[in-house]
């Protein structure tokens, strides 16, 4: 009897140590892989599907890396999609002068908008969600002004730049750089500490202004790069460019397990898990013939359930 009780206690402590909340996103990914693997009779992992997933993953993975830095500090950015749209549009306009200007112009555009977001949030003290919502609408207007409401095309030869090695190279480069910046660097550690307790970091003598400004610039720069990638993928820039990015990227980061409140429990692996979950789910649903409406419904439900299961309520007295 005593032996049985001891065993059961050991079992409970092992489960506690495993931290179910931390492994839930991984379990979610395993479920998605098995469900769509069997559901589509393996079609979801065919060469064609993997290519389609790679196309989607480039945007979601890189965007989610940028978003992870913002979320780790307990912040929020609603403008990432529209910043990508503006960057894509300015890059498309730049190709009229010289196609090789598209990349720097896109990146600089994104960085400048990110810097403006950061300045208003950090220096002027306006709430992040209001600032980025306002920026999102300003960017939408800006796209229409730059393009005059038309679709702007890029030279056709630029489409050849969008190759599998480029996509894999970008994913690997950003993955490695993002991992070291997020998990191993001083900046990453301070960012997470700001998410846990901004006052404690301030009291420790760290100048937090720069640390708070950087994530928005990083995300803006990444949105700029994604604008360029979108341009060489589709060959066009329009008012709808980037319209789905924000929800996809936020979904990926949160589904992967980055807590909405940020803090030290934010992990880089969440970005990878979230991206894989979202892309496999989207591709799997398309193969199964799920309508766009039902896909959105399922994504919404999965989003809520996963966050509810992985949300860290331990340090929160009140959930608002």
């Amino acid at each position: 009897m005593r032996f049985h009780m001891q065993n059961s206690l050991i079992g409970t402590s092992v489960i506690r140590r495993l931290n179910l909340k931390a492994i839930f996103p991984l379990l979610g990914l395993v479920f998605v892989v098995l469900f769509f693997g069997f559901g589509t009779k393996g079609l979801v992992f065919s060469k064609l599907s993997l290519q389609s997933m790679l196309n989607e993953a480039v945007y979601i993975f890189i965007g989610a890396i940028g978003y992870a830095f913002v979320l780790a500090q307990g912040n929020f950015d609603l403008s990432v999609g529209s910043v990508m749209g503006v960057a894509c549009m300015t890059a498309a306009m730049a190709t009229k002068i010289n196609p090789y200007l598209a990349l720097p112009v896109g990146i600089i555009t994104g960085s400048i908008i990110g810097l403006i977001n950061a300045f208003v949030i950090v220096k002027a003290g306006v709430m992040a969600f209001i600032t980025t919502l306002a920026m999102s609408f300003m960017c939408t207007g800006l796209i229409l002004i730059i393009s005059n409401g038309a679709v702007v095309g890029a030279p056709l030869f630029m489409l050849k730049w969008y190759t599998v090695p480029l996509k894999l190279g970008v994913i690997l480069t950003f993955g490695i750089a993002g991992f070291f910046a997020f998990e191993r660097s001083y900046y990453g550690k301070i960012s997470k500490a700001i998410g846990s307790s901004i006052e404690a970091v301030r009291q420790s003598g760290t100048n937090i202004v720069l640390f708070r400004i950087l994530p928005f610039i990083i995300l803006g720069t990444i949105a700029g790069l994604l604008g360029f990638i979108s341009l060489i993928r589709t060959g066009t820039a329009s008012s709808s460019t980037g319209s789905t990015l924000m929800l996809n990227v936020l979904n990926a980061a949160l589904l992967g397990g980055i807590p909405f409140s940020g803090g030290t429990t934010s992990k880089f692996r969440s970005v990878i898990i979230g991206t894989l979950t979202i892309t496999i789910m989207s591709t799997g649903m398309t193969i199964l013939g799920t309508s766009t409406v039902n896909q959105q419904l399922i994504k919404g439900l999965v989003f809520l359930v996963t966050i509810a299961l992985s949300f860290d309520r331990k340090n929160l007295k009140v959930i608002k």
């Binding site: 929020f76 609408f137 909405f260």
Partner: protein, 324 residues
């Protein structure tokens, strides 16, 4: 008392001067623009009332636009069978059901209201779209003119005025209004005082649902049709109301009357848009002007202490440049 009167006058002076300014500067703008300005301000004002209840309770809701569409679809569906009565019942029912859904998701999932609202935007848009298809509509939902006439100008002013009075009485003269403000200010303290925050928040969601239902009446009747979008498109409907609420809550130190301040905030925004369009600025500039206006107002209002301090320092520097 004197300060209060000056405060109230100050609040009304802002839209008045904006109107006079644009009337003088732009030739196409004047008294004849007033009905358009008021009409255009009514929908964001109603959505703003719904959002303000949530704000005051400490909650953030991006799903209000989606809830307007959801209610509008339900109203338009019932209007096919029972005309005006069906439309009203459908809008109110749809709005309350969607508000309850969000409230219970927030209550039982125990995640931030902002996240719940983002998730609900996806769910609610999909449900609205499926609902519209079920009742034989396309992505554009039309209601008969015999129904929409009751919510068009000048009746829309009556609806908003009535809603504003209800909003004021609820917030400043009822127990639940005080509880909502108390929970928004300090939830833990309110809890210790015997208030049950979860119940208060659910009621706040339901009250916002009532205002969102009226917004659905006005939105559906404004152009005679309602556009059902997917992919988070309804979040765009949040922006203008949020600005009116923010401007209203910023001016609250002048006069503690949020419904009037929200109405005036929305009217100010509409005057600026219409004034700029009349001045020849293309309407695509609207969103840029909107964004800049909001950030400027919030930036200034949130830093008044800093500005005062820097002015005080510059005075000290002038008085004693050597010793400073």
């Amino acid at each position: 008392m004197k300060n209060k009167i000056f405060g109230i006058l100050g609040v009304f002076v802002i839209p008045f001067f904006l109107f006079i300014f644009f009337s003088l500067v732009t030739p196409g703008f004047g008294l004849h623009s007033l009905p358009i300005i008021i009409s255009q301000s009514m929908i964001p004002t109603m959505i703003g009332f719904g959002m303000c209840v949530m704000f005051l309770c400490g909650l953030m809701d991006f799903s209000v636009g989606c809830r307007v569409i959801f209610a509008g679809v339900a109203g338009a569906a019932l209007a096919q069978y029972w005309g005006l009565v069906g439309f009203i019942i459908g809008c109110i029912g749809g709005s309350l059901v969607s508000a309850l859904l969000v409230a219970y998701l927030y209550r039982y999932l125990k995640i931030p209201s902002m996240v719940v609202s983002l998730g609900f935007v996806l769910i609610g848009e999909a449900l609205s779209y499926s609902g519209a298809e079920l009742f034989g509509f396309t992505s554009l939902i039309h209601i008969p003119p015999s129904v929409s006439v009751w919510f068009a100008f000048p009746y829309n002013i009556l609806w908003v005025t009535g809603a504003g009075i209800v909003f004021y009485l609820l917030l400043y003269h009822t127990k639940i209004g005080f509880h909502i403000i108390a929970v928004g200010e300090d939830e833990l303290l309110a809890k210790n005082m015997g208030v049950i925050p979860q119940n208060v928040k659910t009621i706040a969601y339901l009250l916002s649902g009532v205002f969102i239902a009226i917004a659905a009446f006005l939105q559906t009747s404004y152009a005679g049709f309602l556009s059902v979008t997917l992919g988070g498109g309804t979040m765009a409907m949040v922006f203008k109301p949020i600005m009116g609420v923010m401007i209203g809550l910023t001016l609250i130190r002048l006069w503690n009357n949020s419904p009037v301040l929200i109405i005036l905030g929305e009217i100010c925004l509409t005057i600026i848009f219409n004034g700029l369009i009349a001045a020849g600025l293309p309407d695509v500039f609207q969103s840029i002007v909107l964004g800049l206006f909001l950030l400027t107002i919030l930036g200034i209002s949130g830093n008044t202490e800093k500005f005062r301090e820097s002015i005080r320092r510059s005075h000290v520097r002038k008085m004693d440049p050597a010793g400073y």
